[in-house]
């Protein structure tokens, strides 16, 4: 579903954000992307939704060669992807319903599809009762759920999350992570970049660790540190 081969990213200011990264993510996987601040997690995600282009290497997302993509074709790629950020990126002057519908309206979807899919997405994130409210009337967790509903409303096969719980308290964090898990169980491939050790350690999913732009650990059912379980660390 997602494939990177020998990908390097050198920013114009000389920072090497990614250095010869190769990574395969299969359909339906749930992957945590961890690592210190500034090691290139966000940069890697930006490459996947073609906000940035790699300096070297091949990137394929859902069968599309992203590194070669002309800007004309970027919209088509983005319609296959959902992207969620730490700061939600909701429009303050639109209601929950309008924020979610926005993602369909601006891609020219017919009204009858919008009327069908927006309630479905709101139902999935458990916000049907909040649909007429504005973002500043919601809790952080509810705002993030709105953003997730917007990311999912076009039924993407892949959901990319950059620090989705970075602004949330532990209760809301748990809620969002559980939601991401449910979305993953419905078949969506989910990639989450995070600093949150508790979340990673509790979930026991695939963990890809970046250090200075290189993948240093890639472990199924891994932990935040070294991809090893604490018990293993202790016993070993």
């Amino acid at each position: 579903m997602i494939s990177l081969r020998g990908v390097s990213l050198l920013y114009p200011n000389g920072v090497r954000a990614l250095d010869d990264v190769s990574l395969e993510i299969a359909k339906g996987e749930f992957v945590f992307l961890v690592g210190h601040s500034g090691t290139g997690k966000s940069s890697l995600l930006r490459l996947l939704y073609r906000e940035t282009r790699p300096t070297a290497g091949d990137i394929t997302v859902d069968g599309i060669r992203v590194d070669h993509l002309t800007s004309m074709r970027v919209p088509a790629l983005r319609r296959h992807l959902g992207v969620v950020f730490q700061d939600f990126k909701l429009l303050p002057d639109k209601t929950v319903w309008e924020n979610v519908a926005f993602a369909m309206q601006v891609t020219g979807a017919p009204t009858k599809d919008i009327m069908r899919q927006v309630p479905r997405a709101l139902d999935l994130v458990g916000l049907s009762h909040r649909s007429r409210m504005y973002p500043d009337e919601l809790s952080g967790g509810e705002q993030q759920r709105t953003a997730i509903a917007r990311a999912l409303v076009n039924n993407p096969k892949i959901l990319l999350c950059d620090e989705p719980t970075g602004n949330l308290d532990p209760a809301n964090t748990t809620e969002i992570v559980d939601l991401l898990l449910r979305i993953n169980l419905k078949g969506t491939t989910v990639v989450v970049a995070t600093h949150n050790q508790a979340v990673v350690d509790r979930m026991r999913r695939r963990v890809v660790r970046l250090d200075n732009g290189k993948i240093t650990t890639d472990k199924e059912r891994g932990y935040y540190y070294l991809g090893l379980g604490q018990s293993q660390v202790l016993s070993g």
Binding site: Y49, M72, P75, L77, R78, R79, A103, V106, T107, T111
Partner: protein, 293 residues
Amino acid sequence: MDWGRVKFFLGEVGRSFTRNTVMQITAIGTVAVMVTLLGAFLFIRTTLADLGNGVLEQIEISAYLDPNVTPQQVAALRAAFKADPRITSAEFIPKSEGLKELRERMRGVVDTSLLTQNPLPDKFRIRVRAPELVPAVAADLHRLNGIGNVVYGQALVERLLRLGIVLRRIGMVLIGVFLIVAGIIISNTTRLAVYARRREIAIMQLVGATNLYVRMPFICEGLIDGLIGAIAAIIVLGVARVTVWPRMLEALPFVQFNAAVVDLPSLVLQLLLVGGIVGVLAAWISVGRYLQT
């Protein structure tokens, strides 16, 4: 027709348009001023051009005949004038009539009764199709058999020709400057509108809106700015046409304007078109720049 889609789109345009009222008014005002100046200029230029043509009709070439010209030569000259496509009329003026005209013109200036004999030769009074032809035709006439002196209002012709060229050049420059100024103001407005909506734009791009879709509200905004400005200008011009214009005619009695030659519907259409095109182009360029970076 998907009315939900139409409503959403109009809502977006309206929201963008009303967000920064001061800037919109500035843009519309600038376009209005520019289009008013442009319209006034086009109007006056057309009426003046007509004036020019009117005066030129009075410009005649006097081709004086040699004193010992034969009737055959005169007949040949008539045929030559007829065959020349540049010449619209050639009138034979015998010297007796020429003298009468001269006496008329000089009445009160010179005592013409002192003229005891007629000093004038016979002549042809020749008119040509266009002012710029006068010097060339005069030179050609000079070469014909049986023709002596060729005289025309050289200074007047040249002045009129120069005036026409100068007016056209000033017009080009003015039109260019007007359009550029209006374009800059609109593109500035667009830039502010784009900046005010950068969050929306970022989200639109993130969820896969096409560039055209992202541009559309701003283009519509530019179009509306341009058209409203042009309409305001047309109203101002219409009012000026009935209030200022008659006074101007009174104030300048020696210049003959002919307002009837102006094709008003086509002028109105031209101004609307100019306003709309400037608005769309300026907005298009301005959003395009933003989207590329």
